[in-house]
C-alpha cells in the first residue's frame, strides 16, 4: 500500500504533506486541525527507557566485573560512543470469540435392578466369588453435548524489522516487552527521532497478519472480532568502548535493563593460567606414574619373581605409554589452544559466554603429536607382531 505524496486541506484547499507521526495534524495554511484516515497509518507507542545515568553506570560496572573479561576493564575501558536505537514491533491485540461445540465426558454407572438383590445376598452369605455367574456392569463413559462461549483476547508481538543484522535475540526481547507492556505510552515519531535512531518497519504488516494471526486461528469456530495493530518501539542502547587496542560494542535493552548483544575482549591471563594449570597437572601425572613404575617393590624382589613380573611390567609400560601418548599431546594442545585461540566474550541473555572469534591456530606441537602417534603405532604393531610370532 502506498501513501499519497500530498493531500489537500478540506477547509482551505492548501497542500499538506501526509502525516508521519500522528493521524492528527494541522493545516499549515489555515491552522485548522485535521484527521488523516489513510489505512496504512498505524498508531505508535513506545516503552520508555528505565535506566538513568546512575543505573547505566552500575550496569556497565556489573558487566565488567565478569570473570571472563580483563580485571582492569572497569578502570581502563573508555566509552567512545553511546547510541540509542528504537526497534519497531507490531503489537496486534484484539478480541476473538465464538461458541465452541465441545463434548463433555461423563462416567455413568448403570444400576442393574438385580444390584439390590445382590447386595442383600452379599450381606447374608458374604460377597459372591468370581465366576459364580452374576454379571457386573462396568461404568460407561458417555460423551454429552457441551458448548463453550469464548470471548477472549489475543495478543501477538512480532518484530517489524529484520533483527538478524543487529544480532539481537528476538525471543528474549519479546519476552521482556510483554512483561512491560503496561508501561507503553503513545509517542510521536518526531519525539523518538530526537532521542535516538528509529528503525523502519520494513516487514509488511500483511505478512504478519497472515502468518501470525490467521494461522493461529482455530478453524471455523473462533472468529477474530476486532484487531488493533500498533507499532511499539523498544529502545536499545549500544555502547562502544575502547580497551587497549580492542574496540568493542555492547547492547543493552533499556526496558528490563539486560545486556542483549555484543562482544567483550576475553581475559588472556585466565586462559594462560588455565593452560599453565593443565600443563602442570600433566607433568605431575607423568612424574607420579613414572615414579610408581620405576620404584615398585618387584624390582628389588628375588630373580624368579622379577622374571615373572617382567612380562607384566612390559605390558604395564606399554599401556602407560599409550595413555601418555594420547593424554600428553592432547593436554599440551589444549593448553596451547587456551593461550593462543582468539577468544572473546559474547553477551547473551543468560550472561557472558566465551566463544572462539576465529579459527584456532595450529599448535607447534602438531609435528610432535604426529611423530608420537606414528611412534606408538609402530611400537604397538611391533609388539603385536612379536607376541603373535612367539
Amino acid at each position: 500500500m502506498t501513501s499519497p505524496r500530498a493531500l489537500n486541506c478540506p477547509l482551505c484547499g492548501g497542500t499538506v504533506s501526509p502525516p508521519l507521526s500522528s493521524r492528527r495534524m494541522e493545516c499549515r495554511y489555515c491552522g485548522k486541525p485535521l484527521f488523516y484516515r489513510g489505512e496504512e497509518f498505524l498508531p505508535r507507542y513506545f516503552l520508555a527507557s528505565k535506566l538513568d545515568e546512575a543505573a547505566l553506570h552500575q550496569a556497565c560496572r556489573a558487566l565488567f566485573k565478569s570473570h571472563y573479561v580483563p580485571q582492569d576493564m572497569a578502570r581502563r575501558a573508555l566509552l567512545l560512543q553511546k547510541r540509542r536505537t528504537y526497534i519497531p514491533f507490531y503489537l496486534l491485540t484484539g478480541k476473538r470469540g465464538g461458541v465452541i461445540a465441545a463434548g463433555r465426558e461423563r462416567v455413568v454407572e448403570r444400576h442393574n435392578p438385580l444390584d439390590r438383590i445382590e447386595a442383600s445376598l452379599a450381606v447374608e452369605h458374604g460377597p459372591m466369588q468370581a465366576g459364580q455367574g452374576w454379571r457386573l456392569e462396568k461404568p460407561e463413559i458417555v460423551t454429552e453435548e457441551d458448548s463453550r462461549v469464548v470471548l477472549g483476547d489475543f495478543q501477538y508481538l512480532y518484530p517489524a524489522c529484520t533483527l538478524e543484522n543487529l544480532d539481537v535475540p528476538d525471543l528474549d526481547l519479546r519476552e521482556t516487552i510483554l512483561e512491560h507492556l503496561s508501561d507503553a505510552s503513545p509517542v510521536y515519531l518526531v519525539d523518538l527521532v530526537r532521542s535516538g535512531d528509529v528503525l523502519d518497519a520494513d516487514i509488511p504488516l500483511e505478512r504478519i497478519v497472515e502468518k501470525g494471526v490467521a494461522s493461529n486461528q482455530r478453524t471455523g469456530e473462533l472468529a477474530v472480532l476486532e484487531m488493533q495493530t500498533v507499532l511499539l518501539y523498544v529502545p536499545l542502547l549500544t555502547l562502544t568502548f575502547r580497551y587497549g587496542r580492542h574496540v568493542f560494542s555492547v547492547t543493552l535493552e533499556e526496558v528490563g535493563g539486560a545486556w542483549v548483544a555484543g562482544h567483550l575482549p576475553f581475559r588472556r591471563d585466565l586462559a594462560f593460567m588455565l593452560g599453565l594449570g593443565l600443563v602442570s597437572l600433566l607433568g605431575f601425572f607423568v612424574g607420579r606414574l613414572g615414579n610408581a613404575l620405576f620404584t615398585y617393590p618387584w624390582l628389588a624382589g628375588p630373580a624368579a619373581t622379577r622374571e615373572m613380573d617382567l612380562k607384566f611390567m612390559e605390558l604395564l609400560f606399554l599401556t602407560a605409554g599409550l595413555v601418555m601418548a594420547v593424554i600428553v599431546p592432547a593436554g599440551l594442545s589444549a593448553a596451547w589452544a587456551l593461550v593462543r585461540a582468539p577468544y572473546r566474550v559474547r553477551l547473551v541473555r543468560g550472561g557472558p559466554r566465551v566463544e572462539a572469534a576465529g579459527p584456532i591456530p595450529q599448535s607447534p606441537l602438531a609435528p610432535l603429536n604426529a611423530f608420537l602417534k606414528w611412534f606408538f603405532k609402530a611400537f604397538f604393531d611391533l609388539y603385536v607382531q612379536r607376541e603373535s610370532g612367539s
Binding site: K95, V149, S182
Partner: protein, 208 residues
Amino acid sequence: MTAGEKPLLLPLTCKTCGQELSGGAEAFIYVCLGCGEATHMSVPDYAYRLLYVRPSPAFKGTAIFAPFWRIVGRATLTVEADKKRSAYQHVRPLGPLFFAAFWNPKAVYYDNLTLRFAQCPEKIEFDKRSDPVLAGIRDPKVLPEMARLTWLAYLDRFSDVTGVDLQFQPERLDYCAVPFFKQGSFYSDGVLGIQLPPGFFAGSGLKS
C-alpha cells in the same frame, strides 16, 4: 481524489457548533465537548451521544474519564429443550453493556467491568459534564456480536448453551465517559469501586 473515493483528510471541527473536536494523538474517536457528541472517524458524518457517568459521592478527588461504548439492545432467546428454558427463566437480564473504547494491550482487564456494570444498571446514572476524555479507538461495528457473545457467556453460567439460539438486536449506542479514581497505587472505577489491575490505562499515557 475521484468522486467515489473517501477523503483522506477530515476537518476536526464539530459540524454543529464549529468547535474543535478533542481526542488524543492516537484517537480514532473525537468528541465535541460543547455539543456532547462523539464521532468515529470511519463514519465521520454520524455522531453518537456523549454521556458522562456520574461518579459515586463515595469517591473523592479528580476523576479520569475513560471512554466506553454503551450498547443497549434486545436479546431474544430461542431454547429448544424445556429443561433449559426453565434454567434460564430466573436469570436476571443484563442491562446496557459497556465495552472499553480505548486501547489497552491487555483487553481482558475490562471484561470484568462489562459484566459487573451490566448486572447493576440501576447504579449507573448520568451527569452533565464537559471533562476531557481519554483517546478512544474501538470501532463500534463489532459491538453487537460482542454483546451477543457476552449474553451467551452469561447464560452459560446457568446452563450449557448447546442448542440455544440468541439474537441481539442493538437499539441504542452511546459513547460513555466512565469516571475512574486513583486510590493509592491503583485505579478503581467511580461507580462500583472495582479495583483495576496495574496497566489498565496503559496506552493512554496514564500510569497506573
